[in-house]
Subunit: 115 residues, 2 copies
């Protein structure tokens, strides 16, 4: 199988502040309500998910994810309003970029051996 992936990466201080993986993680956290549940649903270790969250929070001017430790259900995490804006903007860029080069990418794919 062949495919073309357009990967938009937001790089700050040699860290990827936002990319496809982090965007997916944000969506999972928003849906699950915790980093650990999100990591589990993505078959990712909690440590890795936490590290990614940490990079995001340290890269942007405001927090992307708000976490709570202890309490009723042990704690949890949610995407902040600011984080949702970043996420939406990122997804919009992804979609727009893909649409802009749709025809050209198909032409390129046709030149691949298994297409």
């Amino acid at each position: 199988m062949s495919s073309i992936k357009i990967k938009i990466q937001l790089v700050a201080n040699d860290n990827i502040a936002m990319g496809p993986g982090k965007a997916d993680l944000l969506e999972a956290i928003q849906q699950k309500g915790s980093i650990s549940a999100a990591a589990l649903s993505m078959e990712m270790s909690y440590k890795r998910a936490w590290d990614l969250v940490s990079i995001m929070n340290k890269s942007f001017k405001q927090a992307i994810i708000a976490t709570a430790v202890g309490g009723d259900k042990g704690g949890g995490a949610q995407v902040t309003e600011f984080g949702l804006q970043i996420l939406a903007q990122y997804r919009a860029i992804e979609a727009k970029a893909n649409l802009a080069v749709e025809g050209e990418t198909k032409a390129l794919m046709r030149m691949l051996i298994d297409c």
Copy 2:
């Protein structure tokens, strides 16, 4: 420093048939006339450059790079007409995708800490 990179990757059989690194390598080979000189100019090992060339040639329907071993100056390599077409198409996609989301990416960058 912060920046946004839009990385277009052409994936075939779990290999990246074309991406920013391979496109740069193609241009260097075209300019230098050999894989080894191109690798040297990019501070890349010959082995790595050769492996990348091999992946490209195996991924597309026609050869991207034609190589010659032995002879006058030991041999050499050049980008084929087909390879030049692939390269041009790839660069066109890169430029078009970047242009399409220029405004949005600048807005995203402004939300980074060091921007």
